[in-house]
Each structure stands twice: as structure tokens, then as C-alpha cells.
């Protein structure tokens, strides 16, 4: 657990931005990341009062404030059915409701956990991140090369297309061994696979062949690794099946 020597409450995002560029300064949103980290004592920089919270409709998009907790996302009535119901599906197994009441969307994105099912679902949905200095960027860009910036909001299309989500885990609240999310829009599939155990990545492929073929080829294109939960070999063997199930609409509540 991270030890904090000081807690700073910046008056503005600009002040927060400058503070976070200093050494040994760490962002505090829900406060759960610090439970897992180790290392030298640092200065905590509070962001909770500076960033938006809640899910709002903005035309054809949803705006999800960075301080929205995962439990809110999980239980939002508008997300219980339909193609966006893969978002609640992607957070439902994370530890327990008590913790999901603390973990923020901004923290989840910023932490970039390889086991994150949430990021896998967002990538398939082609979500965008609104950064303080950097403006609006595709989430994929942010994850691949995270700039020193503050995530303020996420943008998600309200009608992203035909979606699905599938994960394999051992215990119900365990991190996934492998997870896959899929989204079909205008003849193109976006397929994201995470917990490999590497950070989630997305591939696009045209919907011109049988789903099984696409799932097999696409599944084989992701690099897999060994960890305590499973071997790379096992992940490779099950990937086509779970990608296919995501493409078939598993995880969507109608």
C-alpha cells in the first residue's frame, strides 16, 4: 500500500496538471489504486472535486465523467439492455460492489491494467478519451502511448452497432484469464482481446467471412503470455471460441 506524505487539493485542473508532472506526485481519485501500489512515499494530488461525475446524453453520444464510479456505470438504467449493456457486463465481476463504489472511470482508464475487462469493452466500442490538455483522442491512442495528462471524460456512441462481450475466469470475482469484446458497425468488426495477460488491443476486420473464420484468424493474431492464472497456450486455444461468442452477442442483455 502506498504511503502518502502529504495530501494536496489543487484549486484548478491547471494546478493539478502541473503538480502531477512533479516527481513523487500521484493522482487520487477513488483511492483504490494506492491500495495496490508499493514504492516510495508520495504526495497525493486530489482530483475528485475537479472532474465531472455521472453519465449524460449528448446527442448521439454518452459522456461519462471521469469521477463516475464503476458501480454507477454498472447500475445505470439506460445501460441495462441493448448494445451498451456490455459495459455493465465488463465491470460486474470486479472484486465486489463495495470496491466498485470507489473505483472511478478515470482511474480505471489511467491505471491501464492488463486484466481490465472495462478497457476491452471500451476499445471495441471505439470510445474516446477527453484529456485536459490533449483534447479528444481515441482511447486506443491513449492506451498505446499514455501522455502525461488528465482524463476528464469518456465519450461512447449510444448506438455503436452490434456488440458482445465474453470472458473466462475461475472464481466469480477473479480477474479474467482472457476477455474479448466485439462490435460490428457498417460492415467492419472491432474486436478487442484483453487479459492476455497484456494490455488490451483491438483489431479491425471486414465482416465478409464466416464468423468462425474471422474469430479464428483474429484470435490467433493476439500475443499471449503465461502468468499464475494460465499459460499462453491455453489462452491461444480458447481465444477463437470467446471471440466468436462475443461476435455472437454474448454478454448483451436484450
Amino acid at each position: 500500500m502506498l504511503k502518502l506524505t502529504e495530501l494536496k487539493t489543487p484549486a484548478s485542473l491547471e494546478e493539478a496538471y502541473e503538480l502531477l508532472r512533479l516527481p513523487h506526485h500521484t493522482a487520487l481519485a477513488g483511492g483504490t489504486l494506492s491500495q495496490l501500489q508499493a514504492g516510495e512515499p508520495t504526495v497525493g494530488v486530489e482530483l475528485t472535486h475537479l472532474l465531472p461525475s455521472g453519465i449524460t446524453r449528448d446527442g448521439c453520444r454518452l459522456r461519462i465523467g471521469a469521477m463516475t464510479v464503476l458501480r454507477t456505470l454498472e447500475t445505470d438504467p439506460a445501460l441495462q439492455t441493448g448494445c451498451l449493456s456490455i459495459l455493465p457486463a465488463s465491470v460486474r465481476h470486479l472484486q465486489g460492489p463495495a470496491l466498485r463504489n470507489l473505483i472511478t472511470v478515470g482511474g480505471a482508464v489511467g491505471a491501464r491494467f492488463p486484466q481490465s475487462e472495462f478497457l476491452t469493452a471500451l476499445l471495441a466500442l471505439d470510445a474516446q478519451a477527453v484529456l485536459y490538455r490533449g483534447g479528444t483522442v481515441p482511447l486506443e491512442t491513449y492506451l498505446n502511448a499514455p501522455p502525461e495528462d488528465i482524463v476528464c471524460e469518456l465519450l461512447v456512441d449510444r448506438e455503436p452497432g452490434q456488440t458482445g462481450f465474453c470472458a473466462v475466469r475461475n472464481s466469480y470475482v477473479d480477474q479474467p484469464i482472457l476477455c474479448a469484446a466485439a462490435c460490428l458497425r457498417e460492415g467492419t468488426w472491432r474486436i478487442a482481446v484483453g487479459a492476455r495477460p497484456f494490455l488490451t488491443e483491438v483489431r479491425t476486420c471486414p465482416a465478409s467471412r464466416d464468423i468462425r473464420e474471422i474469430a479464428a484468424d483474429c484470435g490467433a493474431s493476439f500475443r499471449m503470455g503465461d502468468d499464475l492464472k494460465a499459460t499462453a497456450d491455453y489462452r491461444r486455444r480458447i481465444c477463437p471460441a470467446i471471440v466468436r461468442r462475443a461476435m455472437e452477442g454474448e454478454g448483451v442483455c436484450r
Binding site: N170, S171, Y172, D174, A230, R237
Partner: protein, 766 residues
Amino acid sequence: MIQKPVGKVDGMAACLGKPLYVEDFIPRNALRLKIVQSPHAFAYIEKIDTARALAVHGVVCVLTYEDVPQDHPITLAAEAAPEGSTHDRVILERTVRFVGEPVAVIVAETEEAAEAGARLVDVTYRLRTPHFDYETAIDDGIPLYGPGESFVHFDNGHVPERNIIARKDRVYQDVETVLADCDVVEDVTVHTQAQAHIQAETHRTYCYPDGRGRLVMITSCQSVFNTQRIITEGLGIPAYRLRVIKPKVGGAFGGKNTSYFEGLVAAAVLKTDRPCALVLSREESMTISNTRHAARSRIRLGASRDGTFRALDIDMLINGGAHGEHSFDVLNVGGGNTMPIYRCCEAERFTGRAAYTNLVPAGAFRGFGAPQVVYGLEGAVSDLAWKLGMDSSELRLKNIIHQGEKHPFLSGGVVNSSRLEELIRRGRELIGWEEEYPSHRVDDHTIQAVGMAIDMHGSGIGGLDSVNATVSLNYDGSFTLFAGACDLGTGGDTILLQIASQTLNVDMERVQIEVSDTKTTPYDKGAYASSTTYVTGNAVKDACEQMLRRIGETAQKLYGLEEPPHLSDGELLDGGGNRVDTLEEFSHKIASFSSAEQLTCTGAFKCPSAPPPYVAGFVKLRVDTETGKVTLLNYVAMVDCGTVINPNLARVQVEGGIAQCMGYALYEDMRFSKTGAMLSNDLQKYRIPCSMDVPPIQVEFLESFEPSGPYGAKSMGEVTFHTAAPAIREALLHATGCQLNTLPITPEKVLAALEEQKEKGGRLPC
């Protein structure tokens, strides 16, 4: 009072957060301890330099091997003397034999100072070559213990030069000859993993000097008397100088049946003459204290073509880790609490060995050797039924032992109480066996199946356990029951109160219980081997029966009656049913100037044999043939534990044991690095099942009457564990045709088995 669902006597207090646990007793001025752990799996400490640690503000002293006796190996296994475990420990070692073993202990004013000091202890090690594989450790590894470094009270098969901790052999007739003559022989080898207890409350101990040269210790343990004996022996002080008290414990499961930490805290108090406390983190509890023994069990079950068992040969090799506590007894239980569930074959044999390795030591854990063997034995029965094309429940019904029958490996020799046959028949109905057996396809990648397993265990340890209990009539007409027994969150205190009030024929409110204190309660072996209800319960019943006689005799004299009156519902009644006096008035009188005769009676029980309880477990599950993921749908547990003293507490024990074994079967995967460090050392990496993983568990009791038990009761604590894993194995056999012989059964292992079967040209059963 018995057979009633009475709530736990401390249940409401626990819910309301009253100060009941060890940590609640630690005062602010207590010194705090922090253990420095070895990073090496096998090393000799050439030098420990504590100068930098001592310079930290707040650090009072640092304990090392120089502070405790080194020449007299003890065992930390807190079971009754003479302890069968191989003695190979001292309180702080100069040779460390597993990664995580305590090297030094910082004693400081605050936890922060102790942690800071712990980082500054400089140790010079001379490394030795560790050995981690228990299957090759005997004869292949460098011996962990040299001459003089280990000791046994009686020959338990210990051969230190070969890294053999202990051995146990049981032989009945000539098993090889009979096996050779059998129509069919199932030969299956199973590997079961080490398991961590994961009690809600980790290990912690608080100890203080009483100002009169004695130490008072409040610790989370399973036996106050055995802890007292071991620690004083290890520190070279007389037993009367240490008082050990057990307060409320937040779970143990056997993990607190070994006194890993009490010696360190007592040594700190001896050195500083101040109160000292040690509270372990989850990681420390997991990496310093014991696991369940990992094991390889080979079962050869020979039968005739009609399914009659003719020969049973079990070879068990267990991984004792770096120290030998409990290994001998685990081998004992591995054969004694498993094989006698089936009618004695023409020949039977059990061969058990325990090996040293440079890993965290194994010790006591609910089931204590039986779960490992039952996984293999029931596995062999499942495989035999499958091969013969017989319903596996029918194969069991054909071969189980019945009441009145004998078995050479059974404690006491004969079964005096059993409804095992009915457990199987009734359990089948409840799970829907006939409709579901063996399996059917749900969709293109899901198969549903049922499986079952049976088990037995003991009630106490025959020929060894002995217990006293005392009951006193107080001047106000209430009773006090004094028992050294240890309630571990099991509800043992409540059970004893139920037995006492039943025997005394008074309301439970009239009886108070004082427990688990070496100074004020009589000797009790403690809570292990499923004994509180059966062993201590019998002693409590005896004490209360004596009390009734004493009350009668005393009242007869006091009131000048012809015959002793009897106690009924708080009143003394004569032969004609007329009231002589109230119990309260009688108690005032005998305590007063006219009598000066307060009544106190001590009861005893020596356990001649350990009558077995039985469980039949049935599981319904689904397996995903594309990913190997197993989902449990339903579990039925049929239990014969004799008379059920408290149906609510009994039910909770069953549910807990089954859930814990589901973890053993599917989720709990203990892993070590190549250098012997425990990788799965926290609750993120070592997963126990959560409530969403455990299916609805239906529990039913069929009460037999055990003549030697208190009101016919046997035991429950451990027998509830073993069935879930082999039942799941059997259901997966029925679903896939595959034998899953290595625990835990992860999705990866299931998928690998399915693919291997496909490569060999095999097909799914449905």
C-alpha cells in the same frame, strides 16, 4: 436443550463488535513485533548484525537465535503429549530451511519503528542447496537435518539422513496376491495441492508480564494447554510461569494448531519485561505458518466383475515442507479415516511416507490427510464403476461397511453407529440422480452431469485424547462450567452449554461457561481431530451427572430426607413430586454458615476409540467444452454425525466444509517460484471461492445413535470437508469421460484433458 437450534452464546456480541478477539486486548503501550523473514530456501546464518536496526528510534531490541535455547529440538505441533510429530524446531533457528522462515524479530514501541528496523537487519548467510520436489526429495536431496538436529519420542519412521520425516504402514493379509487374482484392477494416482487456511483472523498473540515473574498470554490458538507446554519447553522455563488464554478466535481450520508465533512473543516479554504483541499480515500468515500437505496418492482397487471389492492398496507420499510437525499423524489419518468406509477386503495395505522439502511447512488442516486419499480412493471407485458400466452409487452401496461390521484399520475395530446406506439413497433422490445420471448435453458446448462421493472421519483420537471438565454450583443457584476446550468460531462453547443444561435439567441461562484458560479451566486437549462435542462433551456430561448426584446427597442430608431429592426445572422435588426447595434457596443455604459446602464436580473422558461420522455428497455441475470452465449448480450433503446437538451450528459446519473443499477442488492454486518463494501469497493471487461460486447446498441429517457419544453424538468438524472434490471429479468423468487427477481442477486442465482424449480418438459420452 440438545437437538435445538440455539444461537451461539457470543453471536450477538460478535455482531455488535464487542471486544472479544486478541487484538481487542492489546493495550497502547504494548511493544510491537515484526518478523524478519529469510529470503533463502536453505541457508546457515553465519552472522546477524543488528546495529543499524537498533539505531532506529523506537526499536527496543532484536531477537535472534542467540536469545533462545538451541540444543533441544521441539515440535510446535500443539497436540497432546507424547507428541508423535518429529521434533525438529527451535523457537528461532540458526539454519533457515524455507523462504520466509523467521530469522530475527524486531521489538519496538510502534509498528512503524518495527517495520523500519526490520529492513535494517544485516544477515550473512552461507547458502546451501535446497530441494523443492517432494516426489524426489527422499534420498535425492541434501538432508535438511543433521545429527542431533531432530528427535522423536517414539519411533515414527523418521530417517533424517534420507529426508524422511515419518512413515506409517498398515497391512492386512497379502494384497499383491489378491490383486493379481482380481478380474479388474483400477490403478489411479492423484496429486493434491497444498492449501492455505485463509481464516478471517490471521495469527496474532499478545503477552505481558504479571509482575510476579509469570507471563500471561492471550493468543489465537487451538489448545491452551499444549501451547503452554510447547512454549515453556522451547524457552526452557517451567510450565507454571506461562498462563495461556484463548479469547474469541476468528477461524483456525487447523492453521492455529501449531504454535508458530507464541514463542517469539514470550521470548520478547522475557527479554524486555514489557507487554508485547504480534499481529500478522495475511502474507506473513501464509508464508510463515503451515499449509495442507500436498500429496501424491496411488490407489489400486481390485474387484471382481460384479463390482465386489477384493483388494485395496494405497500408497501415500506427502510433502511435509521444512519442518515435521503433524506429518506422522497425517499419514495415520490418511489410512485410518478413509479405508474403513468400505467393507474390509480380502487384503488391504496402506504405505505412507512424509518427505522434507525446503518449502513452507505443512501441518494440520481440516481433514488432516483424509481429503488427499479420499480424492484418490473415491476416484478409483468412480473409475471402476465407469469401466464396469455400473451406476457409481450402486457400486458404493454394494461395498460400504454397515453398522456392526468390523475393519482392521478402524479405530475401535467395529462400526457402532451408521446410516451411510440411507445417506446414499436419500441423497440420490434429492439431487435427481436417476434423471441426471450420468450426463446430458445442454447445448453445443455445455454438458451437465452429476457425481457423488462418500467419506468418513473420526471423533477425537482413540487411545490418546483425555479431557476434564468441572461444574460448580454458585451461591445464587447458577452453575459455572469450566472447560479447557477451545471454541474456534465453531460454536463449541454453545454445544457444551447445551449438553450441560440438558444434563442438569435447567435453562441455558442458568449455566455460565468459562473456557480456554490454563489457570482456571481443567486440562483439555484442545480443538483438533473433531473432538469438542464428542470428547469434551462427554466430560461435561459426566461432570454434570456427578453434580446431580452431589446435589441429591447434600440436599438429603440438609433437609433430613429419607431419599435424595432430584433436580427438575430449577426445583428440588422429593419422590412424591413435592417441592422440597428451590435450587436458589438450596444454593444460599449450602454456601452459608450452616453448611459451608459449595459443590464442585470434575468429570473426565478418556477416548477409547474414535467413532466415525459419515457424509455422502452429491454435485450437479456444467462443463464448458470450449473453455474447460466448470460451473457448480447444486450440492446435496447427507450427514450422519450421530445425534445433532445443534441443527443450526451443524448446518453451518457442513456448508463451510463443503465450500472450503470446493475451493480445494477448483480454485485454490498455491504456487512457488523456482527459488522456493510463495508466489500466491495474498488473496488476489490465492483465490478462495466467494458466495457466487458456491452453489445452493442442501443439507440433511440422518441421526444414528452413537452409544459412546454424549446423547449419541459423534463429530462434524472435519468429515464435512472431503466429499466435494471427488464428487466434482466423478461428475466431470461422467460429463467428459476424462479423469482429472490433479488438483485444483482449473479450466486449463479440463481443456487439456478434453483435447488429449480427442487426440487419442476418444469421444465425449454425450
